[in-house]
Amino acid sequence: MQPDVPSHWHDMGGGPAGSVPRAEHDFALWEKRVDALMVLMSNKGHFTVDGLRRALEEMGETAFETMSYYERWIAAINRNLVAAGAYDTAELAARMEEVARRGATYGDAQSR
């Protein structure tokens, strides 16, 4: 493969695949928050849905195979927000370290 030519792995129509997995789940609060951040921040003009898709595509097929849907979304939202100057990566890294120290569960890690 040419190193500079991205594989359009996300362009799946017609590709080989097995039977359709039918298990469904209800969305967790953190997933709904990711969804809400996407809608709100794109409506406010910080990025576009197209920018979200581009970031998801550029994250590559391994991300698709190993991360859940909303894990991929928060990663792609973050790329777009950094590019839009909403915050910078140093601020994010510092805040993530602080959040991770707050507790062992998602509930414990909320600011109080």
Binding site: H10, W30, A36, L40, F64, M96, V99
Partner: protein, 212 residues
């Protein structure tokens, strides 16, 4: 509290997914941090986030089912729906935002089914968030090449007399299937008819229920 109620199902009939009591993941940490930074910098408020979650939770296949049942009962509404499904949805009072909706109708010789091969486009502002399988590689890859085999996996065996029309949501439109009204439903109320319309029948991977 650990999850020890695996047998319990949510109101929609699915297992509860671990929420705020599982081990904190890297991506959950990122979500919290991103959200806090956005709030502190004045880009968004916690109230806006809560309101957006509430608005999304309020969207569900029930909205689409009401739309379909109205179309079954009111030929003039059906004409308006087929001409401009966004306007017809707003006429029903649904907050669909900027959704550009196209209705595609089944009949005795036509069966429609919707997908998005490039990502996961779905009429979310009418039907709520898509099911996991809609976003899967298997569905996205196969339904454009072998729709009948995929539909058979969903329990829908279409006769050769029915032509399948697949709709790939590649750009700005979103699609809702208007299933054919089941036989034996003459005289049923619009509300009773709506109860027959399943989410999958509006994606095209199912048919409406038949009256008991």
């Amino acid at each position: 509290m650990p999850h020890d109620h695996a047998e319990h199902l949510s109101p929609s009939g699915h297992p509860y997914r671990p929420d705020d009591d599982g081990p904190l993941s890297y991506w959950q940490v990122m979500e919290i941090a991103v959200r806090e930074l956005l709030v502190e910098k004045g880009h968004v408020t916690p109230e806006e986030i809560a309101a957006q979650i509430e608005a999304m939770d309020a969207r569900s296949p029930a909205q689409g089912a009401a739309l379909v049942a109205r179309a079954w009962c009111d030929p003039a509404f059906r004409d308006r729906l087929m001409a401009d499904a966004s306007a017809a949805s707003r006429e029903m009072g649904f907050d669909i935002g900027a959704l550009h909706l196209v209705a595609v109708a089944n009949d005795a010789v036509t069966h429609n089914v919707v997908t998005c091969t490039l990502c996961s486009c779905y009429p979310r502002n009418l039907l709520g968030l898509p099911p996991d399988w809609y976003k899967s590689r298997a569905y996205r890859s196969r339904v454009v090449r072998e729709p009948r085999a995929v539909l058979a996996e969903f329990g829908l065996d279409l006769p050769p007399s029915v032509r399948v029309r697949v709709h790939d949501s590649t750009a700005d439109m979103r699609y809702v299937v208007i299933p054919d009204r089941p036989a034996g439903t003459d005289g049923m109320s619009e509300e009773a008819l709506a109860a027959l319309v399943t989410r999958d029948s509006m994606i095209g991977t199912g048919l409406p229920r038949t009256p008991a």
